[in-house]
Symmetry: C3
Subunit: 247 residues, 3 copies
Amino acid sequence: MFKAIVSADTLRDTLDSVSVLVDECKIHLNDDGLEIRAVDPANVGMVDLTLSADAFESYEADGGLIGVDLSRLEDIAGMADAGQLVQLELDEETRKLHIQIEGLEYTLALIDPDSIRQEPDLPDLDLPAQVVVEGADIDRAVRAADMVSDHIALGVDAEKELFYVDAEGDTDDVHLELEREDLIDLEAGDARSLFSLDYLKDMNKALPKDAEVTLELGEEFPVKLHFDFAEGLGSVTFMLAPRIQSD
Amino acid sequence: MFKAIVSADTLRDTLDSVSVLVDECKIHLNDDGLEIRAVDPANVGMVDLTLSADAFESYEADGGLIGVDLSRLEDIAGMADAGQLVQLELDEETRKLHIQIEGLEYTLALIDPDSIRQEPDLPDLDLPAQVVVEGADIDRAVRAADMVSDHIALGVDAEKELFYVDAEGDTDDVHLELEREDLIDLEAGDARSLFSLDYLKDMNKALPKDAEVTLELGEEFPVKLHFDFAEGLGSVTFMLAPRIQSD
Amino acid sequence: MFKAIVSADTLRDTLDSVSVLVDECKIHLNDDGLEIRAVDPANVGMVDLTLSADAFESYEADGGLIGVDLSRLEDIAGMADAGQLVQLELDEETRKLHIQIEGLEYTLALIDPDSIRQEPDLPDLDLPAQVVVEGADIDRAVRAADMVSDHIALGVDAEKELFYVDAEGDTDDVHLELEREDLIDLEAGDARSLFSLDYLKDMNKALPKDAEVTLELGEEFPVKLHFDFAEGLGSVTFMLAPRIQSD
């Protein structure tokens, strides 16, 4: 059984963070909130999202699992105005989700969870460097890198105590350095890894520009990007596998 | 003879209400105002529009008839800023319309009215149910229905005293109910008809979101949508033929 | 040697005025400011732009010449917010331009100036009529003409003391007249020339809508359009060759 009421904004933020990586996902309807884990078809980018029951106006669930078409659910959530509430109720028998927005009722056919790609386990990596920046800085770096290349290097220089971004094109290069005072926080440790810009661009779309984003980095290791949403009651961790460096 | 001055906004609202259905139309230049009637090529959607001479800054006409290319006239009206006046003058000899907007003069070649599809007679139907809603509610219903289907059912449940919208897709459904207190007015009588969503989407484009829209409905009968514009000095009635219900 | 700091807005206005005509250009790094002259591949439209050293926050140059890809430089300038400063520094050895915007460094490969089309000499014409109008009026005339034709005639009627624009389409015509009182200034002299609307549309894109634009006109002669930017510290002259009148 699942029955919940949530603001349209929170629902949209939740869906957007997952839909940048996959088209369909499984949603765990735990008794203390929602959980979504997903990996893209190429096994390069992963997302782990939780949304606490406290982020809802009302929330009742008992541990079920549903499969949803994300773009369809995003379209429905998009029908609501910013302040409006969205009521969700699972019909166990028909396996349909009833969605109500002020008199408008949408009946959404669910997807059999077994037909959806298996959920990943985000590995528990002990990464040597950790940087906390504004989402707007990542946006800037990603857009600049996109002008010259389809790869982007993220790194930390432990000695100089700075976080840097490098993108090398055929003729032009982009380099961004953020020193300790430009950062919200820095745990310095030498780190540098190369990533596919396409994936980082997709993840960047889900990063709130005004949020604190925590990056964990290593030497040719995956990067973890973490941020909160829904006033701290929602939490997203992206993990992106590195590209092999070719010099 | 025809010579008139009208605000760009009023001219644009007039043209937009007709151009959602047809590309060309006949305009009756009556001595008390304009009148336009048109039907789409498939004979499914009709429009009957009047704009009183009082909606103009100045107006002189003696019952002529002109044929116009609507998109061309819309482009010209689009050149004016919101507050600006548009001056229209018919040159009987050359059969051209001179349009002036603050120093800018556009000479528009008219179309032979005989070459334009014949004007329809909107049948005088005695429909059992009448609903008055905000344009925004129709917009919401049409957009929601569009997510699941290309048909939409509009109905009134006389007993429950409510207006409803139904759209059934292959897997998902949309249902909107507006009770008496959500409506501006309701004359209850059992009614339900199925319509092509494409037509209703086009008509919806012309509905001011903040206007009162009157719908007249019957059992498998056409729907009439009526609204005023130009501060009550203009009046539009759309009529849309029903689709045959197939269950 | 070249090293300068300039506001992103001024840099963008500079580049936009040239990029409407050409994709690549030579920039003269004179000691008193920048100068750019360029002609389009068909030799129909020319631009002569100067930007005084006083328009910069700081400026050091000694007469060098660089070749740049304009759209690339525009993309980089587009990364800066309206108020931000852009730092430019030429690396003589690598022939690359280092561009810094608040921690973000872009290394732009320059183009060999010899591979860029030769700079034009804007002929010193003694044109009989001169009109000063708001950029918004030219915008209006160009957009209206574009609805009916791909040519536009600009003229001055010395006797009636007015500036006019004519565009004749297959069925429709556009005519705009601005009398002395509608103009910022007028030096009347008979003038009328026909121009390609495509070129004028491109130049119009670079005209600030609120700027005073000076047009110099003759009888079947080129038109010169002149305006200032960067609070008078930058200056642009466009010249457009006439089309042969065919009646």
